[in-house]
Symmetry: C2
Subunit: 76 residues, 2 copies
Amino acid sequence: MTTARYYHAGCPVCIEAEQTLLGLLDPSINVEIVHLGEQAQRVSEAEQAGVKSVPALVVEGQVLHLNFGAAIADLK
Amino acid sequence: MTTARYYHAGCPVCIEAEQTLLGLLDPSINVEIVHLGEQAQRVSEAEQAGVKSVPALVVEGQVLHLNFGAAIADLK
């Protein structure tokens, strides 16, 4: 089973992208949604995965930055 | 059936995002792949859909800009 992480910060761009994207994904994909505004301790995990801005989807080592809500640096 | 359009310009960022994203989508979604470098006459269609840069996925009036390959203005 493929596991993906959707990192966001609760911003309007993040929520809109989430609604658009997650409805399109294969139902077999397990998506963990990580709100970095509420889980600030996971910002470094996102950075290490290559996330530069949110919202972003990380899957199998690849990062898809979706539109632009906030820079990761602004979440620290 | 949901129909989506994936606009790209053949750039490395475009191809990488395509490989990552399209494999994640629900198989029931019909994705039309539009290479704006080869179909320059469709740049205006993409712009009208709200595409600012490629690669981008347009679905049901929503635009997801994925990473950043090229600005739409540079494809004219």
